[in-house]
Symmetry: C3
Subunit: 307 residues, 3 copies
């Protein structure tokens, strides 16, 4: 039963609960008109303590497309939100006005803390470098729909595997499915942390610094951005950011049914020419992100098409 | 007739008009579903020239829960609102787009000025340290619902009584009802101003520096925050902010049917342990604030459940 | 066919297409109730990379009054929108969530660039000093409704004719109609540029520095603000900003059926006393701006009252 629950980290939900969310997502995609009013009279509080336009848009569009409404802020300056108030008091007050809350916060653990005091479901929309569970739901739904199944894939993850929270979450989420092989593609400085690898079987992953070496073996290629803000040093950033740029040329060796994913925004790690390739699915992925959030909101509110 | 009127200060409405608003609030609380569409096609302009997330959320939630819609800003920077425009021109232009406006402004008198030029009803959502009439409506509704009546109470007001606009308005509003006794509890530096006391009968109030002395006599205890921004001097603030902290221990002497109110946000003047006490009603109070704003908006727009 | 098209500059639409938009605007004005739900289930992305409260309100009110919904931002700070993302990627992502986008941008050409990559219609809501086509639509609709016809007028344009993008667009738009005479009224420093005059017949316009000289000949007087931000020099600004202030006294010589227009906001170029004169139509003009945007959104989305 998902009604009334919170989503703070990806593994808060069982595989079966995830399946319910994905099934509902697919039903919504098939017949959006049927869901135009399911959240009528419901209010989402969109609490973005740090700006993230893309994630905010995705959540707000999700709620509005279900016939619900939105209150919120897109950036917290000290004067507006708290005047020294605790996050527990804030979420309790928000719970007087809204039926469900989405929270993005620069501090790790803030959404968890809020959920413990909250009268209403809280969804973590990213807390520092920590968790971003609806990105993981988005990634899983994309794979489920476009590859028909969440099991039996070889997934390449390429770019910044050290700091990339999206990648860490996806690895943890995908290893719950059957027969998944991971290929970690990164420069030495940005390799995936040991604590992630420690959760995998030894023969379940392969590490390399060369995309060319492995591209023909992949079913899924998950590209990530090398974020400037992760570097202490301009020089290192400039040298590494261009290391793993996907081009049509590189793609010529890849499988015909490869899918190329990216959490967006991209800077230059995927050449614009690749956008025309039917294997490039990152904008579809963004759209699936909205649909999976629609399903998530419905489940946590416990509303239904025929209710 | 409230249709088309403005609400700039609490005493703009007669006791009878307040009663109409409170009655409608109670009807809405009983059957929210019946009001889901009463403001369909109506637009609220939410004009927050200074940030106040809590008040803004309350108004916007109120309008959206009536089926209306909202346009607005949550913080005015010089470039966005005016380019040198007068407040009269601004409200006239807003009146071309919206059906009703809520205005929060750092300058005393700005909402009054706007209302004089406006084509549409203007609600003052706080102007400097001056007025905040919908907080007063919230307080009155809370007392009316939880104490069954607005007459015949002993009300303790505790904390910053010198600068607290909320307290001043509540005293002025409550003294219109029968048999109300006020107990002013504050350190000497933060005593209630003479001009407020001058409006009361001499035997209608009692001043003390000790909460313990009077807590057993109170029907209502209204706690307030000691706001840092009111002090010139860090030292004075630090010394006084902790003077009047409500704890379970202090409460052991209080009446069983006491209600503890607070306009929120709280800093530390009510210990978190008190939240569990059934006499603590400040989060209910926040919720009543949304309902009274729903009723207010309906009355000023002249819309009705059966219209 | 306007469905799916973009509006980047005023002349993107033929005279016939403009006529369709104006006709629909007039129908909406006659019976707003009939349009309350025509955009139900549709989402407008309101992308204001620089603040413009008035224009944003007008678009958002337009969409909401059609039963549609809005996501957006009102000011882009570097962290929120892009993290280095191209405008093409941004508009493609927005197109995953929304059905139509409005873009205000400080850089000339940004909306055009966006439209070339977009999956959804893009409306330019102002790009630098360049274009602001919906202001021009507003001006044309105002003239069409209040003067019954877009042909056969003598139009005076007064104030800053050098930098005023609104004026340049209006001149270009009006010269497509029959028998239009332009009177350019400005100090020497702020005269209309040659490249605008070069598009007119020599006997189609007259230049003067004196409003008094020509006011009795005008059917339409379009006043503009002298914007401080256009000047390098405080002294020049102070001297010139008061040069052309419209007063009741000046107006005594004008025709009885003159209409006085202004794109707003006004500073002091029209004296407040003039607001009471029935010939002052600038606030009506603002309202027409909302209606013409309602019609525009409907046409670009291809929705209809009976659809």
């Amino acid at each position: 039963m998902l009604k009334g629950r919170h989503l703070i980290e990806p593994r808060d939900f069982s595989l079966e609960e995830l399946d319910q969310i994905f099934s509902l997502s697919e039903e919504i995609i098939k017949d959006q008109q049927a869901y135009l009013d399911v959240c009528k009279g419901k209010l989402l509080a969109s609490l973005f303590y740090e700006p993230s336009t893309r994630t905010r848009f995705s959540f707000e569009a999700a709620m509005l497309r279900l016939g619900g409404q939105v209150i919120g802020f897109s950036e917290a300056n000290s004067s507006s939100v708290s005047k020294g108030e605790s996050i527990g008091d804030t979420i309790k007050t928000v719970g007087c006005y809204a039926d469900i809350a989405v929270m993005r916060h620069p501090k790790e653990g803030a959404p968890l803390l809020a959920s413990k005091k909250s009268y209403i479901p809280v969804i973590n929309a990213g807390d520092g470098g920590h968790q971003h569970p609806t990105q993981t739901l988005t990634d899983l739904l994309t794979i489920k729909i476009l590859k028909k199944d969440l099991s039996n894939h070889t997934i390449g993850l390429c770019g910044d595997l050290k700091f990339g929270r999206t990648v860490h979450s996806l690895v943890k989420a995908m290893k719950r499915y059957l027969n998944i092989n991971f290929v970690f593609i990164s420069p030495e400085e940005l390799q995936i942390p040991d604590y992630i690898k420690d959760e995998l079987e030894e023969n379940q992953y392969y590490e390399t610094a060369s995309l060319d070496e492995v591209i023909d073996k992949l079913d899924i290629l998950y590209m990530t951005r090398v974020q400037k803000e992760r570097f202490f040093n301009e020089e290192d950033y400039l040298r590494l950011k261009d290391s793993y740029i996907l081009t049509n040329d590189k793609l010529s060796a890849a499988k015909e049914d490869l899918i190329i994913m990216h959490p967006l925004p991209r800077v230059n790690e995927i050449s614009v020419e690749v956008d025309e390739d039917p294997r490039a699915v990152y904008f579809q992925q963004a759209k699936f992100g909205m649909f999976v959030r629609m399903a998530l909101i419905m489940k946590l509110l416990g509303v239904d098409k025929n209710a």
